[in-house]
């Protein structure tokens, strides 16, 4: 039954795609199409200067056209197109009559120059305007010390930021165009000789297989090329820090940059990597290790604290420490709801606050935080709607979830708390254990670009533990992560790395 339906579906989709296959336009049709848009300009300067110039004025840099193009065209009006292309001081000029190329170039900001308006033989002079934002400070991955550059929306600038950190010819940049409508340029970066080509090929194949009409951000790609698209866990790291990208490239990972997106994707990745902030490498290794452990603790606390509260108060009153019993009974007495309702109300109000804060302009957002945190919180306790113990737990759990350095992951953590709550309500601690098994089982099956997600913990990669839960000092980081199966596993010579060449006094 299912088989038949699937077959039909496939047939239908094949028909659709063949129906949309590119039909060759003639040059005249193309011009007609373009002229239908208001921002398309096509003109001949004067009879003396017979070149016809056409371009999308919204796409080209007017300065370039006026200062560098039109003066040359008028002064060399007697030359042929080939000769002209040698005179104009712009590189990458194309001399073609292929309609498809002409269309693509026009739409990406080239100026079309013809010797006569009806002839399809023409020059394409790239004059794209690059409107871009100033490079600014990272917003979601802020660090107190260390570089404070973040990616912007321009692909060239982003590649520049990576390449200036890795000025080697082995840093390869490969480009693919995806998206039927958006024709988004997607590049992936890797260091040849370090990266395992299997990773590159997997990524390349997945990106070129993408079937979608518009790709507007790298997060689109993140979701489309994930190994398991139904998983709530992100399987590639989305980062806005060029330094982080440079660092993972040198580990043998692959990075993806998308034109128009201020963030890069890196992979293959592991669960542990989501809890390592890049700032960990700027601090001394003891401090970084402790912070990593605190973040991991924060995750467990954030996911489990409210469910445990519900489970213990609903089923396991025996478990409450005697000294806490009085406080708990006192705070719960007179509250009209069972623990689960109380917990869901508070969790939801925290989520509401967060969502409201994220959607509002930052100045109003702050006010919302204060109103929500202080006014609603205190009022709810005084009105006897929630217990103050739970209020503390929920607020701490929310705080703990924000310690996760990768935004996608911290969203996931806040989400998976809710199934835990449901299980805790129905089966108590047993339910929490069952739900944990589900989550753990799911994570065990997850892969990132085909590499296990829970490594180096499972499968155990002892050598990779040096930069997992703890971050050992740099002189111990002589091997690149085994997880990536790098072509060149050694970062530096360990013996020379630990040698001390200081002059003895």
């Amino acid at each position: 039954m299912f088989g038949k339906r699937r077959q039909k579906k496939q047939e239908r989709s094949q028909n659709q795609s063949s129906g949309q296959a590119k039909t060759q336009l003639t040059f005249e049709q193309l011009m007609e199409k373009c002229k239908a848009s208001k921002d398309f300009v096509s003109f001949t300067k004067s009879d003396k200067h017979p070149f016809t110039i056409s371009y999308y004025k919204s796409m080209v840099n007017p300065d370039l056209v006026h200062k560098d193009l039109i003066p040359y065209l008028t002064s060399f009006s007697s030359l042929s197109l080939t000769e002209l292309s040698q005179e104009i001081p712009v590189e990458n000029i194309e001399h073609t009559s292929d309609v498809q190329t002409i269309m693509d170039s026009l739409l990406t900001g080239s100026v079309l120059v013809q010797s006569r308006p009806e002839k399809s033989n023409c020059l394409l002079i790239p004059a794209a305007t690059a409107e871009k934002r100033q490079i600014s400070v990272p917003e979601t991955e802020f660090s107190v010390v260390g570089p404070k550059e973040a990616f912007v929306e321009s692909l060239e600038v982003n590649i520049n930021m990576v390449r200036k950190r890795l000025p080697i010819p082995e840093l390869h940049v490969k480009e693919v165009t995806v998206g039927k409508l958006s024709k988004t340029r997607v590049v992936f970066l890797y260091i040849e000789g370090i990266v395992n080509m299997e990773n590159v090929n997997t990524l390349k194949q997945r990106i070129s297989d993408i079937e979608y009409d518009h790709i507007l951000d790298s997060t689109y790609i993140l979701q489309m090329i994930s190994d398991n698209q139904y998983s709530p866990f992100p399987q590639l790291i989305n980062t806005e820090r060029p330094d982080r990208v440079a660092a993972v490239l040198s580990e043998g990972k692959v990075a993806v940059l998308v034109d128009g997106s201020p963030s890069a994707l890196t992979g293959p990745t592991t669960l542990i990597e989501f809890f390592s902030a890049f700032e960990d490498y700027f601090l001394s290794w003891h401090i970084a290790s402790v912070f990593r452990l605190i973040r991991l603790f924060g995750v467990f606390f954030s996911v489990l604290s409210t469910p445990l509260y519900v489970a213990v108060l609903t089923f396991h009153y025996e478990m409450i420490p005697t000294d806490l019993l009085g406080t708990l009974i006192a705070s719960r007495s007179g509250i009209p709801f069972p623990p689960i309702v109380e917990a869901v109300i508070l969790e939801l109000s925290i989520e509401l606050l967060r969502e409201a804060g994220a959607r509002l302009p930052s100045k109003v957002g702050q006010t919302i935080g204060i109103v929500g945190g202080i006014v609603i919180g205190t009022a709810a306790v005084q009105a006897g709607l929630t217990s103050n113990v739970l209020l503390i737990i929920v607020a701490l759990a929310a705080l703990a979830s924000f310690t996760t350095p990768v935004y996608q992951m911290s969203n996931t953590i806040r989400l998976i708390r809710f199934p835990f709550l449901v299980f805790a309500q129905f089966w108590g601690l047993l339910g929490v254990a069952i739900c944990s098994s589900f989550v753990l089982g799911h994570m065990l099956r997850l892969t990132s670009l085909g590499r296990p997600y829970l490594a180096p913990l499972f499968p155990l990669r002892v050598t990779d533990l040096k930069d997992a839960l703890f971050r050992l000092p740099f002189n111990r980081q002589n091997l690149r992560p085994m997880q990536m199966r790098p072509a060149d596993p050694a970062r530096f010579n360990y013996k020379r790395g630990i040698e001390k060449n200081d002059i003895e006094e």
């Binding site: 009153y317 069972p338 006897g384």
Partner: protein, 360 residues
């Protein structure tokens, strides 16, 4: 794949009732202490002490109240008590169970049996015997800053850290169901508006038969277990006393020929500090030696007397029979019980005074 989905739907539809019973913290009465009193041959009275709260959620005051009822079986009492309670009773947080002296003398088998079957009753709870009626003891208020259940629990707990031998429900079960040993419990008494431990209540299997005074519980504990705290008063000459604080004590049993002609040597090594020796010059090595000798003599004498008393009564709270059994094979308890009153037991105490306070 469709099968898995079907199974998931089936589970959701048909197993909706398969969830454990909810016991929301504030919707139950947490019983803190249960006291059993003797009424007549077939009837017992049980009194439960329950913590209650008054006031709103932010300034609630904890107090305790009691419910009391009589019946023939301990589980039925619960039903009767339920009839006057606003919320169902839950026995998962019982911390102390007290038996009235008279009831204990007649045997507590019935109650123990039902208690140790109940999975919701913990094993690290305390059992105790009370002089007088437990109903009266529990329904009074004591100005100690704690409600009755917490008061009793903390009082027993901290004494077991010090001079009182360790005895919770788990230890009780071990010596009660095990051969070659008899249980003991703290003996409580209400005096001057407080509850106090007045001694060790000794049981002959299920019946309370004898007790030793609280003063002597230190000597008993020395022989019963190795421990690190507690103190005891010794007589030093006429009208002169000193207190030895135990820093570390270690007990060792040597049991010779347990199957045929048993002989038991109990060696107690005590390292202690003398912290109250009115007027005795502790800086002299000679005095210390003298003190050690005196303490040794008194300890050995008191301990041997105590064991003799156990043997005469035919009770074995030290678990000598159990210790003897563990020393060899083919141990015969019938034989042992016959020989028990006449087994020579010698106590040897090695006392070492290492400290005399900060001014030595």
């Amino acid at each position: 794949m469709p099968n898995t989905k079907l199974a998931a739907v089936a589970v959701l539809l048909f197993l909706t009732g398969c969830t454990p019973q909810k016991q929301v913290l504030e919707d139950i009465q947490l019983v803190g202490v249960v006291g059993y009193d003797y009424v007549d041959e077939s009837t017992i009275r049980a009194t439960v002490s329950v913590p209650t709260t008054e006031g709103g959620s932010d300034q609630a005051v904890l107090s305790s109240t009691t419910y009391s009822a009589k019946s023939h079986t301990s589980k039925n009492i619960r039903q009767v008590l339920q009839a006057e309670s606003p919320r169902p009773f839950a026995s998962g947080r019982v911390s102390v169970i007290i038996f009235n002296e008279e009831l204990a003398r007649r045997g507590i088998t019935k109650i123990i049996d039902s208690l140790q079957r109940d999975p919701s009753v913990g094993r690290n709870i305390y059992l105790a015997v009370a002089k007088g009626k437990t109903q009266e003891m529990l329904s009074k208020e004591y100005p100690v800053g704690e409600i009755v259940p917490a008061y009793l629990k903390l009082m027993i707990e901290q004494n077991m850290e010090l001079t009182f031998p360790r005895a919770n429900f788990h230890h009780f079960n071990y010596s009660y169901y095990g051969k070659g040993s008899d249980p003991f419990m703290p003996l409580l008494e209400e005096k001057h508006g407080h509850i106090r431990i007045t001694g060790v209540a000794l049981f002959d299997h299920s019946k309370y038969v004898d007790h030793i005074s609280f003063d002597n519980s230190f000597i008993f504990k020395l022989m019963y277990q190795s421990f690190r705290q507690g103190s005891h008063e010794f007589k030093l000459g006429k009208n002169n006393y000193l207190t030895l604080e135990n820093l570390s004590s270690h007990v060792n049993y040597d049991i010779y020929s347990p199957n045929t002609n048993p002989k038991i040597n109990i060696t107690v090594d005590v390292t202690g500090k003398v912290n109250d020796a009115a007027g005795t010059p502790l800086y002299q090595a000679k005095t210390i030696e003298m003190i050690e000798k005196t303490i040794k003599k008194q300890t050995e004498h008191d301990a041997e007397k105590m064991v003799k008393r156990f043997q005469q009564k035919g009770i074995d709270p030290l678990g000598l029979g159990d210790r003897a059994r563990s020393r060899g094979r083919r141990f015969n308890f019938k034989d042992w019980n016959q020989k028990y009153p006449d087994i020579p037991v010698q106590v040897k105490a090695n006392i070492e005074v290492t400290q005399g306070g900060i001014v030595e």
